[in-house]
Each structure stands twice: as structure tokens, then as C-alpha cells.
Point group: C2
Chain length 401, copies 2
């Protein structure tokens, strides 16, 4: 039978990253694809105890709950954001979501009419592009460099296109691993205030900072809770499977998102919410995050060292100051989507950069994840990668004739 | 600041049921509002053990998972549906969702363009109406009686309005507590086949059957997996807070819903999914469901007995054969929304029937839930209700002068 689907389905594409993950999970491939935290770092016993307490503590925790989320958890988040990010907000301005992915989706749902413009970086977080596309958004990339969006192009596009929103991942971005400078953050905020544009600040990686003191504060900490919606998650610092994220911002927007969530899935898993309440009370989350930072920093340095040794002419990359990814520019003759085929045959995987672009994709880019493999495996994987590169160079020379 | 929201927000309303719940939870009100299962019946220890196993068993259970859901759980669900509902489907045709509410939302997302028609019963499940409204659906009620939709009106509306889908809760419906007859089920399926219309069969209450043998099989069991999408949940049989539902149907539709879910929230909480895998292996869920059935049946009979004693002229109700609700028609002079105000002042709550209607709301209807109070509390609540009714009668007589 031929079913009559909505126009929306034209914009639904399965994420390249997740399709690759499916293949890669089955074999002996060392994967620098995906964006998985390391399972060896999961605080299994603490999570286990927290769930025990949540389940045994109060039967109300097993009952239907409020769409806004468990109040105690929102209180803890408000305190944590105040102390660690200088983001001063009330629990009432927080909505608990099924991962920060759902925060992006609910935000788009209440903001976007078909054809509305959203400004983004280029490249940017693939699954945010998927969400905005599914609402038939006109996504427009703003020119940017390593420090963030370029002010002139941003102002020009705001004036010409009247965007509904500016979506940014200003701290240890996915895929670029970049950090916006303080000046660019201020410039973005000023323009948002001047032209009354809402900013969605996506900050899943902000806690994974490699060295103290050199990261500018979040946009939300410099806003009077009028223009900036800030979203983050426990996926990278506790465990992803718990699917708990949150979004905080102007009450009117949070209120509408809450109503949208009521229709979407009533409320977020409350066993997990109560478990996090206990975890944050009983477990030294900050110390745990420090272990994650140190471990990932070491792995990034191992990968960086090996990339330096490979020494491919025309290759460049940026050393990330946090997060989970290195963004690599290969020589311009190399198409990384073609390269991935050869790579997987040789037992190593990465994500081609092209799908992360809104427009003008650079086919020679790739994203390498350094958090889900031990230093030994990173070394073995990078050795395989060198073999792949040798093959690619030969093919690229052959193609040139 | 004035934010520019999407047109969609016009259709977002906070559910009356949930807003009442908020007030009611704070006081000494005996609530027949809401649709809460009884916390005293929650299998706390079994749930606790299941989560322990899920968390300790395999760290992959704490990692990002596949959007489709945990395969083992889908296998168990396929077996269970085959054995208990005669629904023969493959695990690959099942999508795990964050409660069956999300199944309705994702279905609407891939099916509905603004203005598309969906046919429903009248009254029907309030939160399904909310979902369809939020996609700017033209929801049209089909005439029905206690046995289901009337065939002539259904065929007429299918021919005239070319609906995208027919949404039904054919077994122990919310709010009506009704069961469609086998004949009406067959008639609906025949018309769906004849005119190629998809049916969304919402079955959250099917397991809560009061007496053996008198409930016709689900629509999905009589379909060749071409026209019927079937959704159900663990919210009523295990615990609501776990937020696990599922939807099964034609693979092409499930595949698109999976892609929509990827954008919406990546995947459902996998700790809860693995916990259910263990629960279904280690715990006698069927015996537990039998306890739920017996308990709720007894409570329904207590409520029914007290309603009979109240003996209000012009009041009528249907004795439900399963589920969680009694649907009461009050005398036509009584507006139940006004009555609720008085009722809450007297320490008892219910849900007015009007919001459950697509069109032509009957202002004298109400829904009573009998699952969330012990027989003693039901008795006390119904006594308070009698006082309220006495007041209402006096006022209604006064108003007549």
C-alpha cells in the first residue's frame, strides 16, 4: 500500500553518524566515529545505588510526574549552574528533557514555521540540523573562523533574513572542537539584543575542559534571561542511556516548551530524574568529571601526537581545548566519504565532515573522536589510518593521470 | 520582549487533567480525577532488582543506544503480543517510545500536514487530541454508540473527507470505558481496507480486563500489517515513571517514525529498556497483572455500588468491563465544570467530560477514575460527592427560578 505521509518526511534523513555506528559496532573496527563517552569511566556503582534509592525511596517517584520535571532536580541544576557557570536562573525557568536533543526539538516546535530562518555555524551539530530541517527551517550558515561567527556577516544576515533564532555550540563544539572567544560571544549577544533575536546555546561539552581557566563564560551567564536559551545534558558526565537533559531560559518560552512536551511525551522518565537527585547528593560528580577531563585530555594528546607523526602534506587540524572531537582538514584531493570506505576495510572508522555543513561542504574534512578508545587502541587505529592514507595517496595520484 | 513563536503554539493547551492534578496533589482532596494507577500495586522490589541487573549487567546498557530500541525488548514484546493478543509481528516492526504518548506524537509528525483530517471517537483520549491539534489537524468526530463508531457515518466521512487516519481506543477506552464489539471492529477494518485509510489503535488498557473471555481481539490481530498501527505501554502494568511504550505496524511507517524519533530525542532511556528485559524474564508479570485486574475490578464495583445508592434522577453511567474509568452522564441541568469547583471545596475531584469532546461537548458528563483510591477512600470520596450533588441540586433549582 502507498501511504500518504506528511511533507515533513522529505526532510527526515537517518543520521550518517548513527548508520555508521551500526556497522562499526559489529566488527573489529577501531572507531573514531560516533561521539560516545568511554564506558570504562561510567560510575556504575554510584548510578546503581542512585537508582536503588530512587526506586525504594518513594513510590511517588514511580508514578506519573509533572511535565516540567522533578522540582528537586531543577533546584540542584539551578544551584550547579549558578556555582559553576555563573548562570543565575530559577528552578521554574528550567525544563527537564529527554536528553538535550529533545530540548532542541521542543524549541524548534514552538518557534519555527516552515520557511523561517535559523542562523548557525558552518559546520555545526548534525542532529540539530536534522531537527531544524524536519520543521522545514531555512537554515543559513554564518561565516566564521576559529573564534566564532564573524560579526559583519552575522549582522548582515540578521538584518536581511530576520532569523527566528541563532543556534550555536560556542564551547568545545561538535564537530569543530572550537571555543568562541569572549569578544565574539559579546558581539553575538549585542547583536541579539539589538535586533531581538533569540539564541539557542547548546552546551553538552562545557564541563569537559582540558585545562583550567582559559574558557570564556557561557552566553547565558552574560544575558538577562531574555534572549538566551541554554541547554545541556548528563550524557557526557554521567551516562548517556539515562537520557536526561535540560533547558533554561525566559519563562514564557520554557512554559510553551513545557506544553509542547506534554503533547510530545507527557514527562521525562522520573526514575532517572530521582536517581540523578540522589547521585548529585551522594556522589562527588565534580571529582568524577575531573577524571573524565584528565582521561580525555590524555587521549587527545595521544591522537594529536600520532597525527603529527603521520605528517601528511596539506593536512591540518585544530588542537581542541575540551570536548570529544578533533576536526581534521585533509589534503584537498581527498574526499573523506570515499576514504571512509577504504578505512572501514582496514579496520578504522571516522566521520566524514560533509554532513555537518549547512552549505558549501568541505569534502576533505573529517571528525575524529578520541574519547571512546584507550591510548593503545588510538595508537593501533592511527597506524591503520596511516595505511589507509598511503592507499589514498596512491589512488589520488593515479586519478590525477 | 515579544518573541516570535510558531503558529503551532496556538494549538498548545495545557491539559485540564494535568492542571487539576497539580492542585489536587497538594491537599486532602480525594481524587477521582487523573488516570493514575495505584502506587500500592507497584512491584517495587521487582523493579528495583531489574534496574540493578540492567545497570550492573552490561555497560553497553548505559551507553548511547539504537533509536529503534533494545532488540531483546522488541523480541519479548513480539512474543508477548503473539501469545496474548494474537498480533503476529516481527521485532523489526516495533519501535520503542517514551510512553505511548510519544508514539502518537511521532505518528502524527510523519503523517499530518496542516488541515489533514483525522477521524476519532467523540469523546476520546484528551492527550491524543492535543497531539493532533498541535500538528494543525482537522479532527472530525464520527458518530458512535456503546459498540463503537457507526458504520454509515464512518463510511460517509471517509468518502467525503479523505482522512489521513482513524484514531481509536477500542478496548476499555479513555474516557468512556467502552469496548467496541467484534462486528464494529470488523466493519472499521473493512472500510479502512476498502478506502486505504491507516488506523491508529491505541491500547493502553487492554491488559486490564475485569472478566475473562468477553473482550474482542485487537484490530491489529485482524489486519495483515498493512493498515493498523498498534500502540501500548507499560505505564498501567508496571510503573508509569519508566516511560516505556511501543508501536508496531507496517515497516515503512515504523521506519519513518524511527527517523523522526532520531531527531526528536535520539533514543528511549535504555536503562529502563534493559530493566524491562530483566523484569519480563525474572518476574511473573502476568500474575501481577491479574492482581491489578482483581483490585481495580473490586474498586469499580465499590464505586458503582455507591453511585447506585446516590440515586440522582437523570444520572446514568456505563459499567466498564476493564480499564480505569467510569463515564457518568449527570442530569442535563448540571454543568460539571461548575460542579468541579464545588467538589474540590468539599475535598473530592473528578474530570469534567467536556475537554474530551472533539465537537458538541456534553457539559453534563464527567470521568471518574477508580484505580487510585482504596475502597475506603472511594466510599469517603463518594460521600463527599453526594454532599456536592445536594448543593448542586439546590443551586440548579435556585437557578431555575
Amino acid at each position: 500500500m502507498k501511504y500518504g505521509f506528511s511533507h515533513r518526511v522529505r526532510y527526515l534523513k537517518s543520521s550518517a553518524v548513527r548508520e555508521i555506528l551500526k556497522v562499526v559496532n559489529n566488527g573489529n573496527v577501531i572507531s573514531f566515529a560516533g561521539g560516545l563517552p568511554d564506558e570504562a569511566l561510567f560510575p556504575v556503582n554510584a548510578v546503581s545505588e542512585a537508582f536503588q534509592k530512587a526506586i525504594q525511596f518513594d513510590r511517588k517517584a514511580l508514578q506519573y510526574g509533572e511535565t516540567e520535571g522533578v522540582y528537586k532536580l531543577r533546584e540542584q541544576l539551578a544551584n550547579r549552574m549558578r556555582q559553576q557557570k555563573q548562570i543565575i536562573r530559577q528552578p521554574e525557568d528550567i525544563l527537564i528533557t529527554s536528553g538535550s536533543q529533545q530540548a532542541i526539538d521542543l524549541f524548534a516546535r514552538i518557534m519555527i514555521n516552515p520557511g523561517d530562518v535559523v542562523l548557525t555555524e558552518n559546520p555545526t551539530y548534525l542532529a540539530a540540523l536534522q531537527v531544524f530541517s524536519s520543521y522545514e527551517t531555512n537554515i543559513v550558515a554564518v561565516e566564521s573562523d576559529q573564534d566564532g561567527m564573524l560579526e559583519n556577516d552575522l549582522e548582515d544576515k540578521i538584518k536581511r533574513l530576520k532569523p527566528k533564532c541563532i543556534y550555536v555550540v560556542p564551547t568545545y563544539s561538535n564537530p569543530g572542537g572550537k571555543v568562541w572567544s569572549l569578544e565574539r560571544r559579546k558581539a553575538l549577544l549585542q547583536l541579539a539584543h539589538k535586533y531581538h533575536v533569540v539564541i539557542l546555546e547548546d552546551d553538552p561539552y562545557g564541563d569537559i575542559q582540558f585545562e583550567q581557566g582559559d574558557t570564556p563564560p557561557p552566553l547565558a551567564s552574560m544575558d538577562q534571561n531574555k534572549y538566551v536559551l541554554y541547554t545541556s545534558t548528563f550524557s557526557k558526565t554521567v551516562v548517556p542511556a539515562i537520557r536526561i537533559g535540560w533547558i533554561v531560559g525566559p519563562h514564557q518560552i520554557i512554559r510553551l516548551m513545557t506544553q509542547a512536551k506534554q503533547a510530545a511525551d507527557l514527562h521525562t522518565n522520573s526514575i532517572s530524574q530521582y536517581a540523578l537527585v540522589h547521585l548529585m547528593q551522594d556522589f562527588d560528580l565534580d571529582q568524577h568529571i575531573q577524571v573524565i577531563r584528565d582521561t580525555y585530555y590524555e587521549r587527545m594528546l595521544v591522537m594529536k601526537g600520532l597525527l603529527d607523526e603521520v605528517n601528511i602534506e596539506g593536512m591540518s587540524y585544530i588542537v581542541p581545548k575540551g570536548g570529544m572531537f578533533m576536526w581534521v582538514n585533509m589534503p584537498e584531493t581527498i574526499n573523506t566519504t570515499d576514504l571512509l570506505q577504504i578505512a572501514v576495510e582496514h579496520g578504522v572508522a571516522f566521520v566524514p565532515g560533509a554532513p555537518f555543513y549547512v552549505s558549501n561542504p568541505k569534502e576533505n574534512t573529517m571528525r575524529l573522536n578520541f574519547t571512546n578508545a584507550t591510548p593503545d587502541l588510538i595508537e593501533e587505529g592511527m597506524n591503520r589510518f596511516v595505511t589507509v592514507m598511503e592507499k589514498a595517496k596512491v589512488q589520488s595520484v593515479e586519478n590525477a593521470y
